[in-house]
Amino acid sequence: MAECALKIRDISKSFFGIQALREVNLDVREGQTLGLIGENGAGKSTLMNILGGVIALDGGAIRLFGDKYYPACPADATRAGIAFIHQELNLFGNLSIADNLFIDRFPQFRRSPLIDKRSTYNQADVLLSSVDLRLPPQTPVELLTPGEKQLVEIAKAMRRESRIIIFDEPTTSLTAAERSRLFAIIKKLQDQGQTIIYISHTLEDVLRVSDTIAVLRDGCLVSAGPRDEYSVNKMISDMVGRKIEQMYPTRDTCLEAKPLLEVQSLTQPGIVRDITFQLHKKEVLGIFGLMGSGRSELVRIIFGLDPFSAGKIRLNTVNIPKPSPALNIRHALAFVTENRREEGLLMEASVMENLNLLTLGKCSKLGPMGLIDRMKTTKCTQQMSKQLNIKSGPIQKHQAKNLSGGNQQKVVLGKWLLTDPVVLILDEPTRGIDVGAKVEIYRIINQLAEKGTGILYISSELDELMGMCDRILVMSNGRLKAEFQRDDYDQEAILQAAFSASN
């Protein structure tokens, strides 16, 4: 009878009067893999932070392999044998792989403070081969890809002989090959009897690796059971509380011939070459490509954040020789960047301050030196917040950093929508967002297109593009490789175009 590795009993936690966890009960058996799923804000991260000693629980108890477990800090969790493989990796970029692996316990020459480098590298080699990472241990970590860094983290967990390994959204930054490698490692760990908790939004992956699955919603455990009782649909409906019939809402595609955005032979050496396309009114145009194909770089050039050496950009038939954000905003071009934390939001500012950042001038008569019309901005932002169904406390006070990912993205979207854009560029608008919020955003995009906005949609999720777009352009190595109309959508063909090498 496998012992219970982790017994979580009646855990509760609240912040500022909001109940984040409500008497959650969970068991993880030794040697088993638990898949933990739930929307953002459901409480997964809170639960993991409690396990990891980052925050304290309000009520309830945890037993780790039978012993009472009350971590006061992350070090306690590490000492107790819990290892976290986080989304944001915790490695020291300037140090080598071996240094990172042994950072807290270097092999030393007997009774001296000197590090035994040879032993360090040998042991590192052993660990690296067990995770199938064929790199010299002296390699500085900053040169590694996210996938390789993740393997180093796993090796570190193994070095520490962790009793439980927790994977938190491990596949978001991985290539397809790296994903396979990860699952191979996980299989190996499972064969060795490692207890694992696997958290992810990619439901197919969760089904693939888990022995048991638990679903959190609004701080409560709504269902738990062996993997065989679950399907993707059941997982979604448990997470969201209702059935999602259709992921991608339908839209009347009646795009008009008028081109809102025209790009001609746009070139920037090393980044993009000879890009030509048009975006029409009421059209949703998707751009697909692998990471590094130049899609984000292309739209950054169009928006004026990066320079270009040749080509033409025309907005509403007006030629724009030197685009800049301010100029483009004046021409009613909007741009939701792919990194909301770095370039989309002011994390310390309130929801309202973020929403009205672009439209301050509209509410004052004298431009920048003018006074802000508070009533007007409050009304506009409150309207937009309701329209987008942004879940937060009072928008004047609630800071952006305290919102879930989905709501944060809605704030960024709302900010741009308040400018009444004619063309809207979206770069990975649903990245890191839970299913419920995704559907809401799809609906908003459709509404915008129906009203006349032209939308340029960049995404790595082909399903999403096929569900939302009228046309899909495929980029690879900085060039436009192919174009697909809605009726001709073929997943394999599109992928092939994306993978094709430069000619």
Binding site: F15, A20, G41, S45, T46, I55, L305, L346, G405
Partner: protein
């Protein structure tokens, strides 16, 4: 980790409130009053307040620069150089024994006085020159930081050495006396029962308040300080905003120069030499973040108030021949630590609302 749990049990709202520093100041004032009874005497309070206004002018200027994520170390040397140049415009008399060998003797000023000595426009012109030069130096600072992307610490440090050296060079280390009485009245005089320094600085504070709280420009300052990348993607002219912050800081240094020069009744090339610690210290104590994005006029006021009360109390104690700077340094350090602690309390309360 345990310490802040204890602090959490405290009147949490008081610790986190905007007025925390004011409360601290009041408590400290009461403590000192118990030991030195004349602390609350109206003459001492008048002295105390008269020390508040010029420092507050400087801190308000510094606040703008801190908000956009920079720092202005050159404020004190802007004071020195504007003090000297302003005096050269309006002083009524120059002692040949001291100034004969000055490079500007005969050119800008002579034994009969400064450039516009005696004219009715001398004082307004001098004030204009002082403020314009302050803004000009601020403009140069801002340009270097925004366009050349040089670190603010270095730019303003260089400006500080250069302009304080320039001030000493221009006067050969001499102070310029015999300033017109009307100018001196600006720093020392009163309009009815209200000191003119109070009027000037309170107006300055009011303007700063309106800009930061109600104007578009104010929001742009905060946005640039909080996340300059987001600001530039949002079409905010970040370069211009940064430059404007430094120009304003230079302007406030000019106002500070007017007040300090008036109170010392001379153009002094060493004006404000030891004030930098006070300015930055008062800003930090008030809660204005050295990392940018945070700052309020109210905090500046509270910070200066605390600092001046502290200074006033240290002036009375018999201990501090050498210890004043040590004590001030310790207080600033504690203020910074306290601020970090308060930020942690606030942050830890909301860790988990939807991380990923």
């Amino acid at each position: 980790m345990k310490m802040y749990r204890i602090l959490l049990r405290w009147p949490e709202k008081v610790v986190l409130s905007d007025h925390f520093v004011l409360v601290l100041t009041a408590l400290y004032f009461l403590l000192i009053w118990a030991i030195y009874p004349h602390m609350a005497g109206h003459r001492n309070l008048a002295n105390l307040l008269s020390n508040v206004w010029p420092l507050l002018a400087l801190v308000i200027g510094q606040m703008f620069v801190l908000i956009v994520g920079g720092i202005d170390l050159s404020q004190t040397s802007i004071m020195a150089v504007t003090s000297v140049l302003g005096a050269m415009v309006m002083a009524m008399r120059f002692d040949p024994a001291k100034f004969q060998h000055n490079p500007l003797w005969g050119v800008i000023f002579s034994e009969q006085g400064g450039w516009l000595a005696g004219h009715s426009s001398a004082v307004p012109a001098a004030i204009f020159v002082m403020l314009a030069i302050g803004m000009g130096i601020g403009f140069l600072n801002g340009l270097a930081v925004a366009k050349l992307r040089m670190p603010p610490f270095m730019v303003t440090l260089v400006a500080m050495s250069f302009f304080s050296g320039l001030a000493i060079y221009l006067t050969r280390s001499e102070n310029i006396m015999h300033l017109p009485a009307s100018f001196i009245a600006i720093g020392k005089g009163a309009v009815g029962p209200i000191p003119s320094a109070l009027l000037i600085v309170v107006s300055l504070a009011a303007v700063a308040f309106v800009i930061l709280n109600r104007s578009v420009l104010g929001r742009w300052f905060y946005a640039v300080g909080q996340n300059i990348r987001t600001a530039s993607v949002s079409g905010i002219p970040t370069d211009r905003v940064v430059i404007l912050a430094y120009v304003f800081s230079g302007f406030c240094a000019g106002i500070g120069s007017i007040l300090y020069s008036a109170r010392l009744e001379a153009g002094r090339p060493t004006l404000g030499r030891n004030l930098l610690l006070d300015v930055i210290g008062a800003a930090v104590i008030g809660g204005i973040s050295l990392f940018g994005g945070k700052g309020k006029v109210l905090w500046a006021v509270y910070g200066v108030l605390f600092f001046v009360v502290l200074d006033n109390s240290l002036n009375k104690m018999p201990i501090e021949f050498y210890s004043i700077d040590i004590i001030k340094g310790c207080v600033i350090l504690m203020a910074a630590l306290l601020d970090a602690l308060r930020t942690r309390i606030a942050a830890n309360q909301v860790i988990a609302v939807g991380a990923a």
